[in-house]
């Protein structure tokens, strides 16, 4: 019989647990005594280990077991949560990930690294225990191998009431009791009240139950393991008695125990408990209505909590992201078809058709917005990843940097978030390496030794701004200019504004690092940032104050699939400009052209704006119209005009990719289908401007 197991369920869960684990560990670093967090870390590892073993990921299970063993010591307070422990556990988390990747066909995980982590973790164990990996299922083997609990052994109360039919399952309760006594010192109370008279006794049924008081150094898990087979058809209740909350628990519990032990009759308990509210009222301590109100409050809070729990479990479902991509594609098609319907209905004099077309337009719009919002994800999880990056990098470089975030709940299209990761990594690395100075230098400059990096996401219309601020040395515009001239990227006689100089850092091969560190300085990186942000149809803005810090702002569209466009006409062809970049449209008359004496500039309200004539770029034949239109746009913080024959108007643009043949097109980012079925190319303004600039540099006449 072949054992076929679908492992994807495990790996999916494991990846999720790992990212949770990372978050919890980073949080734990800040609050090292938070028992909740320690518990969360422990549970995540426990689950990975448990399901790993079941799904045949033996290496994952064994490795995780080692880590879990040590973390268990932290959980029960034997060892403190230290930076070293967090470092090692984070490294272990990465290794588990590597193991999973390897199982999925990725590179083989580093065994030396695994050994390093395990050795490091074992060194933290004061008793230096060496538990075998498979000990979990064999409690007997586990016993004694565990480190001594500094807080001393714990007292558990175990109530074990077997189902009368338990023997029919082949279970022998005495063996279970024997196992419990193996765990530590026990006092057992047998409840035989239910035992019938001999004549009525059915020897095939179990009539007795037990209460065991166990003092043990093993945890609750070890006890639960004993009863694993009988959990469903027996009453097994395990409580740690010497935990503080147990000692302050409500008196009913105490009463229950007394009744069960036969110390008092149930009736006496009821009498004792019932009049508590009445007694308070009788003694004049509180009025009847107040007691009632307090009870109501308790009820309401409980109800609300239950509701919340219910809601939490029902508010989200998981859907594979390619299904969503499909849905977005379909909505895109629908928007296109709807545009056609609108066009046709406007040319027919048919009132009924027009009503339907309008209704379809409204529904399509709603459907589009809803679909887009489904793909929106909070950027918080991406931010959390950077916490780890900042922490690790600053440690490597001997810098002290605190990272703060803002707007983690800002939502962006999933695809944008996915593609945003790499550029942000580069920007943050750069800030850590070149921006924030070392502690000595900072103190010498009158700054606090600890540097700051602030990551913020802000909504701004149809865009989201992602800002990375540091309070480091800032950019030196003069040095940037000098460097650019040395490299020959900028001619010596060109005067650049500071803003323009800052943009130089995004040039290919441009590096300001004095020495190449393993973090940055190889001159790759920031040009990658520029390219990625271009691909996302975003823009980059840099501002900086020397000695005070640098701020890099990425402006990104909310979504990649559908944009607001401006439909324009050049010759017989229609094109789309991204509306987000458009500032205004002005006329360009033959007189304006003559005034400029052959230079491609126009005066717009006392500002000289250079322009690009699309007719020339696209080599359109025929004569220009008498009055052309200039679409003034902001491209890379500069105003540039694009001369077109005519501006048609706003257009909902469903973006279709151009396919691999036109992948390297310098001027177009995609295409869209118009209502009448014709195709309009979408112009990539940033790329076009850079392309024209580089052409002019090559032939500077």
């Amino acid at each position: 019989m072949a054992i076929e197991i679908d492992t994807s369920a495990f790996t999916e869960e494991a990846y999720e647990l790992l990212s949770e684990l990372e978050d919890s560990l980073l949080e734990l670093e800040e609050n090292p005594t938070d028992q909740d967090l320690i518990g969360r870390v422990f549970r995540a590892m426990h689950t990975i280990k448990g399901s790993g073993a079941m799904f045949g990921f033996d290496e994952v299970a064994e490795f995780t077991h080692e880590v879990e063993t040590i973390f268990d010591l932290a959980r029960n307070g034997t060892i403190p949560v230290t930076k070293v422990l967090i470092d090692l556990t984070l490294a272990a988390r990465d290794h588990i990930r590597a193991l999973l990747d390897a199982a999925a066909g990725g590179d083989e995980a580093d065994k030396v690294e695994a050994q390093r982590i395990i050795d490091g973790l074992r060194a933290l164990d004061p008793s230096n225990s060496d538990q075998p990996a498979a000990a979990k299922a064999a409690p007997a083997a586990k016993k004694g191998a565990k480190a001594k609990d500094e807080d001393g052994p714990q007292l558990f109360r175990i109530r074990f009431k077997p189902h009368p039919e338990i023997f029919a399952n082949g279970t022998n309760p005495l063996l279970l009791l024997g196992e419990v006594t193996d765990l530590g010192e026990t006092r057992v109370v047998t409840h035989h009240e239910a035992l019938p008279e001999l004549e009525a006794l059915d020897p095939e049924q179990c009539h007795v139950s037990w209460e065991i008081f166990l003092t043990t150094e093993e945890g609750e898990n070890a006890i639960e393991d004993i009863f694993i087979f009988v959990g469903e058809d027996c009453e097994v209740n395990i409580r740690a008695l010497d935990q503080e909350e147990e000692l302050t628990t409500s008196p009913q519990k105490l009463g229950d125990i007394l009744v069960q032990r036969g110390d008092i009759a149930p009736g006496i308990l009821e009498d004792a408990l019932k009049p508590i509210g009445d007694r308070l009222i009788a003694s004049g301590a509180v009025s009847q209505s107040k007691v009632k109100a307090a009870l109501e409050e308790q009820k309401a809070v409980k109800q609300k909590r239950d509701q919340k729990k219910k809601q939490e479990s029902a508010t989200s479902i998981r859907v594979p992201s390619d299904k969503l991509d499909n849905l977005v594609d379909l909505v895109g098609e629908l928007v296109t078809v709807q545009a056609r319907l609108n066009q046709i209905s406007s040319t027919r004099d048919n009132h009924d058709l027009q009503v339907i077309a309008e209704e379809v337009e409204r529904l399509t719009g709603e459907l589009r917005d809803n679909t887009m919002s489904i793909r929106m994800l909070a950027i918080g999880s991406t931010f959390n990843k950077f916490k780890r990056l900042v922490r690790d990098l600053s440690k490597d470089l001997g810098k002290e940097i605190e990272m703060t975030t803002e707007g983690a709940d800002t939502e962006l299209d999933k695809n944008v978030i996915d593609q945003l990761n790499d550029p942000l990594v580069h920007i943050i690395r750069n800030s850590i390496d070149h921006g924030v100075e070392g502690p000595e230098e900072r103190v010498a400059n009158g700054k606090p030794a600890q540097g700051k990096i602030h990551l913020a996401a802000i909504h701004s219309g149809a865009s989201v701004l992602i800002r990375v601020d540091d309070d480091g040395a800032g950019l030196n515009a003069d040095m940037l200019r000098q460097k650019a001239v040395e490299k020959g990227t900028v001619p010596p006689d060109v005067e650049l504004t500071d803003k323009e100089a800052y943009q130089l850092i995004f040039g290919a091969g441009f590096s300001m690092a004095k020495a190449i560190t393993n973090v940055s300085g190889r001159g790759v990186g920031m040009d990658v940032v520029r390219r990625s942000i271009d691909n996302l149809r975003g823009t980059i803005d840099v501002s900086s104050t020397l000695g005070k810090g640098t701020s890099i702002t990425l402006k990104l569209p909310l979504t990649l699939a559908i944009i607001e466009g401006l439909l324009i006409k050049v010759g017989d062809e229609l094109y789309v400009l991204p509306l987000a970049a458009v500032e205004e449209c002005v006329e360009l008359s033959a007189g304006d052209v003559a005034n400029a004496h052959g230079r491609h500039v126009i005066n717009v309200r006392d500002e000289i704006v250079p322009y690009i004539r699309l007719r020339d770029r696209f080599e359109v034949e025929g004569t220009r119209p008498e009055i052309e239109q200039i679409v003034i746009s902001e491209v890379n913080e500069k105003r540039v005009g694009f001369v077109v024959d005519d501006v048609i108007g706003q257009h909902q643009t469903v973006i279709k990719s151009l396919g691999s043949n036109f992948e390297h097109s310098e001027e177009f980012s995609g295409a869209t289908i118009l209502g009448d079925g014709t195709v309009a190319l979408i112009i990539d303004l940033g790329k076009m401007v850079r392309f024209v600039e580089s052409e002019e540099e090559e032939s500077p006449e």
Binding site: M1, I3, N169, N172, F229
Partner: protein
């Protein structure tokens, strides 16, 4: 006297693995290749415990457990089933049929012995 355990599985490798583990721990082992075969052998000669797979030709493990529980001599004998799922209906189904416990595949010899110790003593 060594306790006698029957291992029932249509896979010879699983039978071998279970058999070697149990013999190594000092138990006497008999084998059944499916539910029907096991039932016939168990009727002929009693054992102290049964370890059975669930998915088998001729007679599956659940039916075997039900059949055994009908026999007076096996009414209280520990029966452990081998399952591939860690949770879910199969385990519950087995328990309802009268299984004492379960072992989730894949398992390692110490796990198997741990479970046997738990139900057989």
């Amino acid at each position: 006297m060594a306790k006698k355990i029957m291992t029932v599985d249509d896979s010879s490798s699983v039978r071998q693995m279970v058999g070697l583990t149990l013999k190594g721990a000092g138990y006497e082992v008999v084998e059944g290749v499916d539910g029907q075969d096991a039932l016939t052998k168990l009727k002929a000669s009693p054992v102290d415990m049964v370890v059975t797979d669930l998915n088998m030709p001729n007679m599956d493990g659940i039916t075997l457990i039900k059949e055994l529980r009908k026999l007076p001599q096996y009414k209280f004998t520990p029966i452990v089933m081998l399952t591939t799922e860690s949770q879910g209906s199969r385990k519950l189904e087995g328990k309802q049929a009268g299984a004492t416990g379960w072992i989730v595949k894949p398992f390692k010899p110490p796990q198997l012995l741990g479970v046997i110790k738990k139900v057989l003593g």
